[in-house]
């Protein structure tokens, strides 16, 4: 099959880019979308042109590195799939495919389809962890975890941090990502001690990173390759409201230097 690609090309360090048209000839239906781009890139290299830069790593849908917009849909037309797992058989011969990077102020384009998602890392660094005391390892089953809670934590932990939720959201909100991380830890007993502060810190960091607000419209869950439900956003809202309400001591501020223990004693 043959497809026409319109790809966003932006030089590294350049503020602007443009759509460039490429013809992909003799594409096998069994190729993944990224393999198709690999073939296009081979041809570009042979012609002495700059290949199309795109992020990828595991190519089995679990690392969260790949992702771009195909005809206006994050990770392309098949739900619950990353672009690396999207196969060319889902497209028709002669299709016009518009390929653009994630667009958000918080995700600046590095080059072509590659965006900088460090904003996600900073949200995690703000509170997406549990503190564990050193010493001998505790017994594996010492803390009971109800099955239903474990399932909910696992469902949220399925988030690979690809950024499709931000890309699909008309407000470029990171609510699904942050909600998933907060829910993942909030459901487990190990996450309970830091739960209120975690919600405060991660939500405020989200704002610092210039992500927009959530309007509960559900575009994010529709494109999430791990099909995480927007129920996690309600969980985040619940934890944030509760923590804001019950906090007792000096409030945490997002501009506080990293590493400095926050004085916020909650509940």
């Amino acid at each position: 099959m043959n497809v026409t690609l319109h790809v966003w090309r932006q030089k590294q360090g350049a503020g602007k880019g443009r759509m460039v048209r490429y013809e992909a000839r003799n594409v096998s239906e069994d190729m993944s979308f990224l393999e198709m781009l690999d073939v296009v890139n081979e041809e570009l290299i042979e012609k002495g042109e700059e290949p199309i830069a795109f992020d990828h790593d595991c190519r089995e849908g679990i690392c969260g590195m790949c992702g771009f917009m195909i005809n206006g849909v994050a990770h392309g037309p098949v739900p619950g799939t990353t672009v690396c797992e999207l196969h060319m058989r889902h497209f028709k011969d002669g299709d016009d495919l518009y390929i653009e990077p994630w667009r958000a102020r918080a995700f600046p384009v590095i080059k072509d389809l590659v965006v900088n998602r460090s904003a996600f890392d900073r949200i995690i660094a703000a509170g997406g962890y549990i503190s564990v005391s050193t010493g001998s390892a505790p017994d594996g089953n010492a803390i009971p975890v109800p099955k239903e809670k474990a399932e909910r934590a696992m469902d949220a932990a399925a988030c690979i941090g690809c950024g499709a939720c931000v890309a699909a959201c008309p407000n470029a909100a990171a609510a699904l990502f942050t909600g998933a991380k907060i829910t993942h830890l909030a459901m487990l007993p190990q996450g309970a001690p830091e739960r209120p502060q975690r919600a405060l810190k991660m939500v405020l960091q989200m704002k610092e990173e210039m992500f927009g607000h959530c309007t509960n419209i559900g575009e994010c869950e529709a494109v999430c390759p791990k099909q995480i439900s927007i129920e996690v956003i309600a969980r985040m809202n619940h934890d944030f409201i509760r923590a804001s309400w019950s906090e007792r001591e000096a409030p945490y501020r997002a501009d506080q230097p990293a590493g400095e223990p926050s004085a916020g004693g909650c509940q």
Binding site: R103, R105, V203, G212, N216, A222, E231, H238, R253
Partner: protein
């Protein structure tokens, strides 16, 4: 309470509002108040289908305790102002959050109503101003037959001018859309979500949206079709 403690409380409040969730909570709570008003307002207005004295007496009853009337008006006005201010601030954040637009963007998971809240909202606000001038203040330009003591006839004369009725009907369709997303969305914003109840909340939102839009459209429609006629000597 020491001055420091007060200062701390103020700061906490600011920080809460600074976050996008804090602003959304303000939108949800004020939205809930306005939603409650809209439902009550409609139930009151449906009395127009009874005898003319019924709605006229109801209008008098609403004004029996001026303090209560003004308390309700202040709460509503405050809710409207906060709802609008928060929505403008959030829209500004949204514009800042995506400086470069997509060349092509498809919507795959959202309803039309949910994506157009910032369109339906301002049109409803403009409608509310018109509606107050039309029926509460009774501007001569808009309501030449306005009589403060005859609500029944005011409604009928007001809607016999078909462009006014048309604007009401369009505004009520938009209000229905606004509520269809808003009534469900406020629960989500306040952190209430459960796989067992959330589908019912969505149905509840649809039911209320249809009730409010349909009920309000019924009144101008009844006047335009001649079902409701002005009554002399009431």
């Amino acid at each position: 309470m020491s001055a420091i403690a007060v200062d701390l409380k103020v700061k906490q409040g600011f920080r809460f509002y600074e976050s996008t969730i804090g602003k959304k909570v303000v939108m949800a709570v004020t939205g809930f108040i306005l939603f409650g008003f809209v439902v009550g307002h409609l139930i009151g207005n449906l009395q127009v289908f009874g005898p003319p004295e019924k709605i006229n007496n109801y209008a008098v009853m609403l004004r029996t305790v001026p303090a209560a009337l003004w308390a309700a008006r202040i709460v509503l006005l405050l809710s409207v102002v906060l709802h609008i201010v928060a929505s403008i601030q959030l829209t500004k954040l949204k514009w800042d959050a995506r400086p470069v637009k997509y060349q092509i963007k498809e919507n795959v998971g959202s309803t039309y109503a949910s994506r157009t809240m910032m369109w339906s909202g301002p049109i409803i606000a403009a409608f509310v101003i018109y509606h107050l001038l039309h029926f509460t203040f009774g501007w001569r330009v808009l309501s030449p037959h306005f009589d403060q003591h005859n609500v029944y006839n005011n409604i009928i004369y007001g809607f016999q001018f078909w462009p006014a009725s048309l604007f009401y009907i369009v505004a009520m369709v938009l209000l229905g859309m606004h509520l269809y997303h808003g009534v469900w969305s406020m629960f989500q914003t306040l952190g209430v979500s459960h796989p067992r109840y959330t589908p019912w909340l969505r149905r509840l939102a649809l039911a209320f949206a249809l009730f409010v839009a349909g009920g309000n459209i019924l009144i101008p429609a009844a006047v335009l079709t001649g079902y409701l006629k002005p009554v002399m000597g009431v």
